[in-house]
């Protein structure tokens, strides 16, 4: 089967998810082991810690045409590096202000804590996030329309 680029009849959003090695990525793995289904509209980029994610990555994702970006990590208190997720939270708050100034809808971005044991939660969050972005439609920033 030759895959085709998305056609005009429907909308497959382009969603980038940053996941930390120890918790949320492991939670995503558990969702897999548990065969919990969710839409294939996400591409995960693994980092060691949610604190590794530079807010610029998320802005760049939107600039390059992402319809949504999700930033995930360990619950507070669970960070493998103790407080990396607190740093992620601080950076996210600054980022969220900028995304809001740019008029990017709140449903298109988020920061979620998902533990290694929360396959269900991963799957639910992805399902909901994708659905919300689908409702909003394409964003297509960074292009001279």
């Amino acid at each position: 089967m030759a895959p085709k680029k998305k056609d005009s009849n429907g909308f497959h959003p382009r969603i980038v998810v940053f996941a930390c090695n120890w918790c949320s990525y492991a939670g995503a793995d558990l969702a897999g082991v548990s065969r919990l289904q969710y839409p294939a509209d996400i591409r995960v980029i693994r980092t060691m810690c949610s604190g590794r994610v530079n807010p610029a990555f998320i802005l760049k994702a939107f600039k390059m045409g992402a319809d949504g970006v999700l930033w995930t990590g360990c619950h507070f208190g669970d960070c493998h590096y103790m407080f990396g997720n607190y740093r992620a939270e601080e950076n996210y708050q600054r980022l969220a202000k900028i995304l809001d100034l740019l008029g990017i809808e709140k449903e298109r971005y988020g920061l979620e804590w998902i533990s290694a044991a929360e396959g269900q939660r991963w799957s639910r969050i992805i399902n909901e996030f994708v659905e919300n972005v689908q409702k909003l439609g394409p964003k297509k920033l960074g292009v001279k329309s």
Binding site: M48, C49, G51, A116
Partner: protein
């Protein structure tokens, strides 16, 4: 080793794993492989039935040598379990193991999009392209060698802690065994008999205590607690408080054997500690010979397998059987009921024991979680699911089988050791199957009920396993730390000191140069490689190795530029 930096020639090999039907059953691996052939830098692509099998790994090794690969991308399961294996495969074929990139198309693709073959295939292609993009920018790295102090700290002097201590001491390693209480023994102090061998808990405790005392290498610190742990595998600096005394020890490994608490069933089934007691209280009375009940009913799953505590505590069914049998053996005429939801009598011995209990006349009553027994004034009203009948049982003692719960101070311990806590509040191992007695943090191990409700024999074999694991680095004397660490590019550092402020591991430090400017440098042994400093650094002076900005952005860029999505059905 092939020192292939990003500037060097880049010959990427991509290996697409079928994982039997696990991947190939849900997405078109041939299409993914064909697509991989079109990607820049890719010179070799093959499909493997199982990449992690002997033939699969041989094929990777062969291709590295014969196809002259300088980068390897395996699209298979998850790096969390199999990355070390494939890194080793690369190293065995003389390719620097850090020139390997893992693409997860099973846990995060085939298994979760198993009803949409086209979408899963598109996603797998994108993930492979992202992996290839990152692979092209990978840099070789050499593991950092750290000397290991051949000594262990064991936290908790119960059955698991004592067993681990003896196990290590017998291998010749000095052990510091820290126990909060004034005496070693832990839960054994509260128990009566220890099954399946019907040994008195006191005897087992004495035996273990004597065993510990036999070894000079074991330093026992009772009435003591660990207050601080710094450092890393091979070199942990531990602060201990024993009464007013403050001690410090340097150890190479740490074993956690802190056990669990038993739920006190306040407000459940009229619990009062007299007529309605717990199994633990029953055992205390049996030990002391003070138990005076004429008729007994035991209620299983008291406070367990509910909304608040979803897990099965596992040991309670057997504890109830053990105590019921004891009562029944002493007084065969005693009316004895066990009210249960499901009986877990795993293994050969325990199931036989259940049959014996039935023969002795112990009555088993199955109740429903939706309609639990009602206890009032020495009378239990319960609907028996097997008979489908309401029963009224008049007994003078009700015994509640309550679950083991995480120790009240688990959070503190988790912060102290920088180890995670799982969903149910117990400490969380690195991997349930692959690394069951280790934490994700190197050099820290776990055994016994601190991890999960465990009975005595499980605690013992976990303790021996943890000791065996801890003995590996201590025996080798050297460990390799993953070179996934951060480095400062001094030419971009403006010496703001933010990295130094935020790092919990004290890896970055500022030095003042001759011209008065400050510049940061990172101690790579202390660095855990989280990369937070790299994200926080205002001037991008910090490079998080294996997760550099360039690598992550190349993944992001290629993902968004050439995103595949299946045609939408109308």
């Amino acid at each position: 080793m092939i020192a292939a930096g990003s500037g060097d020639r880049c010959r990427i090999g991509v290996f697409v794993c079928h994982c039997g039907r696990n991947i190939a059953g849900y997405l078109d691996t041939a299409a993914v492989a064909d697509y991989a052939r079109t990607l820049p830098g890719v010179v070799y692509v093959s499909e493997n039935h199982y990449s992690c099998s002997e033939p699969g790994m041989k094929e990777i090794g062969r291709a590295i040598r014969e196809e002259d690969l300088t980068r390897v991308v395996v699209a298979a399961c998850t790096p969390r379990t199999h990355e070390p294996l494939f890194r080793k495969t690369c190293a065995d074929a003389d390719l620097n193991p850090y020139l390997f990139e893992f693409v997860n198309i099973r846990e995060q693709c085939s298994w979760v999009h198993s009803k949409d073959r086209a979408a899963a295939t598109c996603k797998a292609m994108d993930l492979v392209r992202m992996g290839v993009a990152k692979a092209a920018l990978l840099e070789p790295a050499e593991a950092i060698q750290v000397e290991v102090t051949p000594a262990a700290l064991i936290i908790g002097g119960g059955v698991a802690g004592m067993t681990a201590a003896v196990s290590l001491a017998r291998r010749g390693f000095p052990v510091c065994l820290v126990e909060r209480k004034q005496e070693l023994g832990g839960r054994l102090h509260d128990l009566n008999l220890v099954y399946p061998v019907a040994e008195k808990a006191d005897d087992l405790r004495d035996r273990l205590q004597k065993n510990v005392a036999k070894y000079e290498k074991i330093e026992v610190l009772t009435g003591a607690g660990v207050t601080a742990v710094n450092g890393f595998i091979g070199h942990f600096e531990v602060e201990i408080e024993q009464g007013k005394k403050k001690l410090s020890r340097t150890v190479g490994t740490i074993i956690v054997a802190t056990g669990a608490d038993v739920l006190v069933p306040e407000g459940m089934y009229g619990y009062d500690g007299h007529q309605v007691i717990t199994q633990l209280e029953l055992e205390a009375q049996l030990r002391a010979g003070t138990f005076a009940g004429e008729s007994v009913a035991m209620i299983q799953c008291a406070g367990a397998r509910n909304q608040e505590r979803s897990y099965c505590s596992k040991i309670c069914c057997f504890t109830a059987l053990k105590n019921a049998m004891q009562l029944k053996t002493a007084r065969p005429e005693m009316p004895l009921y066990i009210l249960y939801r499901d009986l877990q009598t795993h293994g050969l011995k325990y199931e036989a024991f259940l049959n014996e209990a039935r023969e002795k006349g112990i009555q088993f009553v199955r109740y429903s979680a939706d309609d639990p027994p009602q206890v009032a004034g020495g009378v239990i009203r319960v609907r028996d699911l097997n008979l489908n009948r309401e029963l009224t049982l008049a007994v003078d003692i009700v015994v509640l089988s309550t679950p083991l719960v995480p120790r009240h101070d688990t959070r503190e311990l988790s912060h102290l050791l920088r180890v995670p806590v799982g969903e149910n509040g117990f400490l969380l191992e690195a991997h349930a199957q692959l690394r069951p007695v280790e934490f994700a943090t190197d050099g820290v191990y776990i055994c016994g009920a601190a991890l999960w409700p465990a009975d005595i024999s499980e605690s013992i074999f976990q303790a021996q396993a943890a000791a065996a694991k801890a003995a590996i680095p201590m025996g080798q004397g050297l460990v390799s730390v993953e070179p996934i660490t951060c480095q400062v590019r001094p030419e971009l550092c403006r010496g703001c000191g933010l990295c130094e402020q935020i790092c919990e591991f004290h890896a970055p430090g500022l030095t003042i140069l001759q011209n008065g400017t400050r510049v940061a440098a990172i101690n790579e042994v202390l660095c855990k490689g989280c990369g937070t400093c790299a994200a926080m650094c205002p001037t991008n002076a910090i490079v998080a190795r294996q997760f550099t900005d360039r690598q992550l952005l190349s993944m992001l860029t290629t993902a968004l530029r050439d995103w595949h999505a299946p045609a939408v059905k109308e």
